[in-house]
Symmetry: D3
Subunit: 289 residues, 6 copies
């Protein structure tokens, strides 16, 4: 690429209206999948987040960590059982989950953000009892359903100038720690914070009209059209619960939800600060789109 600094300046200037749109607002990023596995992509995500943070956008990072958990369980010789695609989580497993999410993934993310010039603080649903939950299904074990979300710790951390990085474990009233689905938590957090945008990073390029043809990407979906799209099989499989989280976030007060392809470098920045928009955006009201 042969781009002059004059080009660079023009490009920065083109970002102006987008920066203005988001400045002072909250963007919740649900971070997981490939974007978290590749060091290069992780680096690209972190830089995007630090840049957004520097231009005055309040970014909240909610991360998962499935593969790291699986790897650690393997290490301790623990096999994962699944019921309906959900990991059965016994006492020992949830301890591993807690350690991997809040100890390893969370602090490592904080570390990379700091090394890229951001200011970050890692939180879990335990800190300030942010995520209160109940056992969801006795068969699944220590898997929680959020009963009360207290976003004050997130606001406190933002107020002190940090990017909050959040592990989605929760606690019940008896002292148990429970594993919480990160997509669900991110959607609820975004709603409770009245975030401007929830960006959900996935390993797909978004919702495709023809799942085998990336050129059939649906760029905008109204919340009311979701049931139809599920019926037609356009939204299917593992995408269904993700899309349901999108709906919930929109109903909870988030302005827009975007599913973007975490495999594309700088996908967050492309989505927020350029005129392209990538992935599929969900909105609540046709009149707003």
């Amino acid at each position: 690429m042969n781009i002059t600094n004059a080009d660079r300046a023009r490009i920065l200037v083109h970002a102006l209206p987008y920066i203005r749109k988001y400045t002072g607002k909250i963007i919740v990023v649900k971070y997981g999948g490939s974007a978290m596995q590749s060091e290069k992509l992780k680096d690209s995500v972190v830089r995007d987040i630090v840049l957004l943070s520097l231009v005055g956008i309040k970014v909240v990072l909610v991360h998962g960590g499935g593969p790291e958990i699986t790897e650690m369980l393997k290490k301790v010789g623990k096999e994962s059982k699944f019921v309906n695609g959900l990991r059965v989580t016994d006492k020992e497993t949830v301890e591993i989950v807690q350690m991997v999410l809040a100890g390893k993934v969370n602090k490592s993310l904080v570390n990379i953000i700091q090394n890229n010039g951001g200011k970050a603080m890692g939180l879990s649903g335990i800190d300030g009892h942010m995520i209160e939950a109940d056992f969801r299904d006795i068969e699944l074990g220590y898997v929680g359903e959020i009963t009360q979300l207290n976003v004050q710790p997130i606001l406190d951390v933002i107020d002190k100038g940090y990017i909050p990085v959040i592990s989605t474990i929760g606690c019940d009233r008896k002292g148990n720690i429970l594993n919480i689905n990160a997509d669900t938590a991110a959607a609820k957090i975004a709603g409770e914070l009245s975030a401007e945008t929830l960006i959900s990073m996935t390993d797909t390029s978004g919702i495709l009209a023809d799942k085998d043809d990336p050129s059939t990407l649906i760029t905008k979906i109204d919340i009311n059209d979701i049931p139809g799209l599920i019926e037609k099989g356009i939204i299917s499989g593992g995408m269904i619960p993700k899309v349901e989280c999108c709906s919930e976030a929109l109903r909870g007060g988030v302005n827009q939800v975007v599913i973007i392809d975490g495999r594309t470098p700088h996908s967050i920045l492309i989505e927020t600060l350029t005129d392209e928009g990538i992935g599929t955006m969900f909105t609540k009201d046709r009149s707003q789109t």
Copy 2:
């Protein structure tokens, strides 16, 4: 130019360390010359300033307005006399100066900044008696030399979130309003504000070792080398007082002063947010460069 959004994102990310460097700091821009005459260049300057402001940099704009003053004097049938290259400013002339600077140029700049999404407030040296001055030379008439600079009004306006746009007229203790050289005022203001950078826009590409060969641009000059460069004639003519203002700003506490070519679009952004740097930078200490 065929630049993808992925390129754009990368370019934005490359601006990261520069944004970090300046965020929360003050940049004083002395704005004048060609960059103020051409509508297109004016637009490019204003967008640069609004962008810097949006990414958390505190920009203070100090403007001149020589050509507009000359034009207005012509309109009222007033001929300008010059003594040693300085305009003799009688009572009627200084009123025109006041009107053109604080009324026309200032408010028009504020208007364009606002139209580009910035938030600006126009100030003159009269507001809050920011610039107190004395007659400099009886022969020159209402031309002032700064005796006291009170930057509180600038800080107040910054604190309320506006970009201060400053006309350099001053007042003496007897109620007279005096014309103040904009380069001098900008240098003093930058010093008093302990600005990170003073950017002075000129109609040259900077200091050239061979004035006829633009490729001989000197990109960095230590304050101690200035006398030698004047002696050798490398800094000469109208550039001498400008460079002396640069020296004064550095001595007054500004970290670096840059003379940039106002004829290049987005020269402010190129200077501040890219790795190029354009024009000539003056610094105080070889060890710091």
Copy 3:
């Protein structure tokens, strides 16, 4: 006058209940006419304003400048055309208006206030895009009608301890600058600020029952009685639009509007801090008078 200091003390004490009434409240003064032409009267107005400001009243000064504009137009050899008593304002004229109001009159007022111990900052409707307007009538040219009034810049300036001095020029969305009637602007500003009082300085002693007999001054008029007084011809000519501004201010939330005689020295102080009251006061509700 042979007044002892004991008398002086008693007089100061008599001002007590009036100071208490206004302390912490906003008084908008529409300043124009003779009171602005005579240096002595100008001095008296400014001292009144500084005193009110010192005793804790928030004064907002909105000024006109018709005669200065006419004089300047004359200087540049521009003749003023009038349509229905309103100046036709072409592009060149509005530039003169902008310069005279925001550059000359405004900054000169700020200068005098500062010289009398007040702290002032000059604003125009352009700063912070305070006054947004549209062309009022294509025939009249650059004459604007207020479409949106944003008083935040006024509040910001008050909050920082300055007396805001306001030139009534406005801007439209295309970047044009428009001339705005100062009476109308002052009324809207007073309304938007929920001012306690709007004081409008005129060159008459108020509304006279018999216009040739100053002893027939009507000291208080209820807003509902205005149409009747117009019908009877008691309010007539140039006073009609002024009185309509009064009505609008009252409807907009101002508690009382007073038309005072700017030709009387210290008329503002007499109106606000003594038991006399001069001129004609307009109020909204008979039950309040």
Copy 4:
């Protein structure tokens, strides 16, 4: 007196520079003597104080109460013994002192200030343990000498917008309550608060060169000249301790101390807001006078 409102306005304007001088500063008024015995004079003092408070001056009122104490002691059939002109204060007497000062005089003053539109809070040296003291002389009984002055309660009350009204009783470390001389306490309080002025109200017109000729009032005395004036007998009798308090206040950081005649109505206002000045002013440095 036939004074027009125009005169009134001019008089208010003449107070401008004096208001400016004191605004935001602290004036401590030591209140006692005739000015406290006559209801009319009390009313005049209170109005002066409320006016000063309304124009932004922080007034601290320190009061005595000798005659009320004597009267109450008489009522309970207690005779006062004096040693060197100082009342011997036994346990029962100091209880009467405490009740009369902090209960009767203090609250009655607060009541009158409030009824005149001021906002006042009564304090004693006990509240927040403002005045810590020790027995001064065993023979005198419960008479204290200030050992530590903690002005925080005064500042707290000022900060909340009240005029502090202070009774000068103090406490020792063993729980005893002691009578404190009001002149001494006022001087120390003024010093500790770095008051601009301490005004001490007396029953004389000030220091007279010839004590029988009121026209020989000495209007200004430098602190260094006091010993000489005492030697010459010009300062004598009960005035000596008063003047020593003045000296101490000046040395403690007060800018000027004035002894004024409490028998003159509005003497406080005449002293502070007019060009007359009444009584005798003490200053620290000839060069400052």
Copy 5:
């Protein structure tokens, strides 16, 4: 008693849930009776209050002073007349009341609190015109009925970190000072402050089902049951007005009102920080008990 420090620690820990319950909340203590007559009990009450204050509870102390008033009246040879059990209060009497309450009792309490490590400021209903009142009954003389309660002075004093100690005298619009019943005032103050608890100290162990058998203490009474208990004679005599104050406080917004036995040392602490609860608690709603 042989209590180890380990026991002490456990006891402190047991206070934890009670401290948590009250922390940051307001407790109004109506202080009078035996608890105010015995030095030892006074000491115990003050220590309780200082401790509550140190653990973050905002205590407001409202005191009476009947016996001290009676004693002082005796000293000045004034006999008290009573009408229906209420003291007839002439001008001279109310002055004694004012002196004893605001001068003696109030300041002495403040002194003891300070000596026990608390920070206190004494207030009366006169300060900041906190208690406005009217003559209640012409026959009773200077006895007031509260017409307006302005708790701002209390909040101001709390905000500055002091324990407010309040004498219940009030003022009318004509400048009269009136005696106010302390039980009534405490109830109103607690209501206006939305206190968590009003603790009323009496000389009984609470409401007894059989007034001769202390073991029949009724520990909790719903506000709706009060009329029935009065009818049955269980609440009778001087307890009736006290209980009516409790009702008023509950209706005014206080969460719970407790009548405790001031003769028991540390009864306030036992009531608030232990699981015992002493005396009789009044609550508004059976469902809450």
Copy 6:
């Protein structure tokens, strides 16, 4: 134990002077050893901390976690090598350390504090890059020596009302995460925070003059006497580095350091809020003891 509520009240009152001493000050608790292994002792420690926090003391909890780390290493089949008693920490081991400390121990402590009514937030040396470190000894692997301590994140968390719970892992400039000795970190943190007290919990009853006789506990040691005690063998073995941390904390600005026996329930509370004091206190200056 047969302790009445009256006893309880008296005991609470006895804690008064101790609460006063610490209120608003910082106590750093280094938590580890037995006190962390037994659930009952953990509960007792947490309650102590919550109580201190409720009475206005700012507690900072720094925890270790050696046994949990060893256990986890065992689970993943990793054997620990030791060099001079220090664990050799390879890349895989430090990841386990990070997970166990920041993920398991930290969040579990936060959870228990919250369940006991405290408000806690877990931090590690990574958050806000609080602990910057360098490799200490290449042979030991990922074991760090603190190079820079940035306590701002701790202060931010305290300022928002949380008890900071800190895992002592650090980071170097290359992105490595390093294991940091908890005793050293706690000492440095206490110093940097100018803590009033550093409480270090151990599994001994303190320094014994005769190590086999608990009755020979030395209750106070001056910092200058430490070398002598080491020489005499009274301080020996694993206690030496602990005591050196105490010295460093004292030199760093901590007022007093106490080594207490974590095996005694409520030892923190006994040390801080009773007159006993347990364990050995270290102070800097004989004159202060």
